[in-house]
Subunit: 223 residues, 2 copies
DNA sequence: CAGAGTATCGACACGGTGTCGATACTGTCA
DNA sequence: TGACAGTATCGACACCGTGTCGATACTCTG
């Protein structure tokens, strides 16, 4: 990046600079964990000094919070669109929801990983993520309760809410492991299918393959 | 704790002091996250100065690593005993394994939570935990593969290994959430049942409740 | 072109880390 | 018993990242 040709573009306006900080941070997070990133690095990456950084954000965690907001908004939008297009069949619903989540965080894996890191130290990040997870859990619990009413899931000993919580936490952890290439973790090519399989086993339960009420989709669904 | 009656017990021998540090650390971790704990606090808690601390451990992460070793050893021992006592029925196997895990980390929740925190910053902690998880995954994958051979689980599109990975990561995350009282999380009273339900749905799959081959244990197993 | 707001920086104080050299205590062997 | 070796302890120092403050430069608008 040569300094904007000829005359050096000295001052940036506040919004541009803020955007530059966000961009620099996300870019640096591709290669370094949040904890191994100093404010100085982010500031330099955005073309300002460390102390100028504080003019825009009170801490690096605040930067991440901004980044998280954007990504979460995208995830929710994508989910709502996907679910609307999926129709009522729980098989499609589940796959659509998981895919929306997967696609978004795959595109912004740096932010996703940093968010998990930040949650530990920053209450704000923790609360933001809690709200996100809660909305997914509530939605999932609705689907499960519906399956129980319709009769394809026997109202087991565990509550729909708890089941929904466990499944969503599984997604969170499994996708994190995949994106971080943890050991053990699941390959990107298989992760969605694996999650969908478990979700369907858990919420469609005992009914082996026979569709209980919606014959619009084939009972067997390989691939 | 009054200073050992009358004459102050000045010097401790090295092993005692090391034990005191471990104890102080675990005790402090009950109420504070690892990141909000300074070496000075741990050292004072063990009755020495900060610089003396370095005589015993190179960092607070090293202390945690010691703590983790002990707890992990306990978890493995408990698991092996439980599995040996559980017999071949996968229903009992699954519940026994999950309960062993749950019980151990419940008794040492401070260490469990700190371990998760430390994994982010300390490669050693990350590797140690990876090895633990890998051994659980391998064991689980064995059970799943066996179920597939026996025929009660149709060899689905996803590999036994991936299934095992997802289920174990679910346990890790769900139990963490429970012990940390995250939002959302599952109450301690319900968490084992919830996990067992999902595991059985995933690895026993389509077969509703009929015992597949081992009639020595009752198919129903409440409490 | 003056003044209000915007943007930037250097310098400082603070708190946590890790190292080093000095010193005190303890057991043991001559 | 008393000197020496090893063990244990500490204070002082240098370092690094953070956050704040006051000074200054730039820019727009009247």
């Amino acid at each position: 990046m040569p300094a904007t040709r000829g005359r050096r573009a000295k001052r940036m306006n506040g919004d541009d600079r803020e955007a530059a900080i966000l961009e620099a941070a996300e870019q640096l997070l591709e290669t370094h964990g949040l904890h191994e990133l100093s404010i100085d690095q982010i500031a330099r990456g955005a073309g300002i000094s460390r102390s100028s950084f504080y003019f825009y954000f009170p801490s690096k965690e605040a930067v991440l919070l901004s980044l998280m907001d954007r990504v979460i908004g995208q995830a929710n939008a994508r989910r709502d669109a996907a679910l609307a297009a999926a129709g009522p069949d729980p098989r499609n619903l589940v796959r659509a929801g998981i895919t929306a989540f997967y696609d978004t965080f795959r595109e912004h894996r740096a932010v996703a990983l940093a968010a998990a890191e930040s949650r530990i130290t920053t209450p704000e990040a923790s609360e933001l993520w809690s709200r996100v997870m809660d909305s997914w859990v509530a939605m999932t619990a609705g689907v499960i309760a519906h399956q129980q009413e319709v009769g394809s899931l026997p109202p087991s000993a565990v509550s729909a809410r708890d089941l929904a919580t466990a499944l969503n936490l599984m997604n969170e952890r499994v996708l994190h492991a995949t994106f971080a290439q943890d050991t053990p973790s699941i390959d990107e090519s298989a992760v969605v299918d694996t999650l969908v399989t478990i979700w369907l086993a858990a919420i469609l339960g005992p009914s082996p393959s026979g569709p209980s009420q919606d014959p619009t989709t084939p009972p067997e669904r390989p691939r």
